[in-house]
């Protein structure tokens, strides 16, 4: 018997635990019980279509296109600096939606006049996420970022790659490496310091995004959500002892449902982050708007990226918080 879930970030198939805490997990209305051993992988065509190609000797194999492991990312960084952005947050707060929106804005040429798409080693991965086709698979989820990905691999904690390039000036290229992590990783980190090891890559991060569910911060669950967010910040500061000069964004999602009004309670999370030594920036977003007539999809998404890249003209970093690449913060050191 295999379990899967229609909830996007639920990993019941991997962990056996229902994110909505239904016991047994099969009793959850979102859970699907199946005897199917393996689902067809996206993008892999039927063998019959390729009989000629299969008979030939392989001359070169390319990146899988869905995700990058740490080894894959290191290969990119051998030729250029990779800007590593960690997107953290609990289940169903909008992390994947943010990735989908960033991709769609780029593909639709809506990232402003100064930047343009310059490449991606994970175009299929972005496409699949934007179409909600890339979900966590059954089986045991890796406890670390995967090292290397190949085509048949299911979705696993890994990185997505998006290269942007300035259209003018010195035409600087930015190779963004953005994490795609299950919500459980953030939940587990709050609950259990012993899981901090899987976040060792954060030592190399150029930006950290804590994703907060905007509507939740205005409802009855707001106090619990804020406490969770504060604990996550504390883990980053105390348990992981992250470099406080790394840009920290408190990304408030689904703000289209709030008329782009910032929930006032976010201020307490920002203050907590300041007290921990960070210089947080609160950015409301509407990644994929439910009310596009009033709030455009993609609102705020590029503000997050521009802030981390230090390109946001509104934001002037204090001298003490200028982001630099510290000696020894190379990617290879934190792998594995």
């Amino acid at each position: 018997m295999a379990l899967s879930c229609t909830k996007q970030d639920c990993t019941v198939g991997a962990t056996g635990t229902c994110l909505l805490l239904n016991k047994p997990a099969e009793s959850c209305p979102h859970v699907i019980v199946s005897n199917k051993q393996a689902e067809q992988l996206e993008g892999v065509e039927s063998p019959a279509a390729n009989t000629t190609a299969e008979m030939e000797e392989i001359g070169r194999t390319f990146f899988s296109g869905f995700e990058l492991g740490t080894s894959d990312a290191a290969e990119i960084m051998r030729s250029s600096y990779g800007t590593l952005i960690a997107v953290l947050g609990q289940y169903d707060v909008g992390k994947t939606c943010f990735l989908a929106s960033l991709y769609l804005m780029t593909a639709c040429r809506q990232i402003g006049d100064e930047l343009a798409f310059a490449g991606s080693m994970t175009l299929n991965g972005f496409e699949a996420r934007a179409r909600r086709l890339r979900r966590w698979k059954e089986g045991t989820l890796p406890k670390q970022l995967v090292d290397h990905t190949v085509l048949p691999d299911p979705r696993a904690p890994a990185l997505l790659h998006l290269a942007l390039r300035e259209r003018a000036a010195d035409r600087t290229r930015f190779d963004l490496l953005i994490t795609d992590l299950p919500g459980e990783w953030s939940t587990d980190l709050v609950k259990d310091a012993s899981t901090a090891g899987r976040f060792s890559f954060l030592k190399r991060a150029d930006g950290i995004v804590i994703t907060l569910d905007g509507p939740m911060l205005t409802g009855p669950e707001r106090h619990a959500a804020v406490q969770n967010a504060k604990l996550l910040v504390s883990r980053l500061a105390d348990t992981l002892d992250l470099d406080r000069s790394v840009p920290l964004v408190l990304m408030v999602t689904k703000c289209d449902e709030l008329g782009m009004q910032m929930p006032s309670i976010v201020g307490s999370v920002a203050q907590h982050a300041k007290n921990a030594g960070f210089c947080p920036r609160v950015i409301p977003i509407a990644a994929i708007s439910r009310t596009p007539a009033e709030v455009s999809s993609g609102t705020g998404v590029m503000d997050v990226i521009e802030h981390i890249l230090g390109r946001n003209p509104i934001w002037t970093p204090p001298k003490s918080q200028v982001v630099g690449v510290q000696k020894g913060r190379n990617f290879a050191r934190i792998r594995g």
């Binding site: 190609a53 085509l151 259209r167 439910r290």
Partner: protein, 282 residues
Amino acid sequence: MESATAKISSVVLIGGPDSGKSNYIFRLWLAISKGDGYICANGLPDHLDYLQTGSQSLLKAEFAQHTPHDVMSEDIIPFKITANGVVRAGKLIVPDCYGERWMSIFRKREWSKEWEERISEPCGVMMFVRASSNQIVSPLDWIQCERMWGFPVGNGAQQELVPPTQVVMTDWLQFLGKAFSRRISDGIRPKIALVVSAWDRVPQDRQAVGPSSYIADEFPLLAQFVQSNDDVFDFCAFGVTIAGGDFDQEPGFKEKSLAQDDPLSGGYVVHELGGGPRPRKI
């Protein structure tokens, strides 16, 4: 004086099904063999069967049909170029294969040793897309995306991803970038022609702004990639119509073409080598 050391010039044609690669090769052979252009045939190719069959179809005002899956043709056309009294000779090697083969390369993320050897030689690339082809998969837009995200995820069965054409074409270019990496690191910008075939099918107002603008409108992701990597590749966009009309769809065009001395005399290329779009008869 004929150069004895002329390099073999290889051109790789890339494109999905119905992108116009084969018809282009047949028209190219007719143009080269006619001998009144810049590039002329320098004797006959050893193997003419494939070229001759296809070009015969065109001369009957019929487009070549879909390339069969068992066809992997490598046409070697000896050519010479005369300029300022100097003759340069070489061999134009133009491989052709069915478009699904290129889709398979995209999906399986690998190509054969045979392709690798071909790509490893100095070569240029022509990447085809046919205007108004029903094989073109449109990019995802906000309306589709907002609809997909407005409902819970489906019943758990994961559907197969059908990638938009611009994603496939961009990945092909990234594959080539990998394969050409040594040449690129040596400061060489491999030439890539972006060919919009069936240019006559592009609406008149959009023809006026040229193939680059057409590509930018239809395939914005690809167009940005081209813009951002113009120091890596030597890109140029072309609009090509081998007959100037559609033998199959345009009423009376086939009959009108056959009534002329050359049924393909209406064909032309739109290039932007001098800046704006300029037509050139072929």
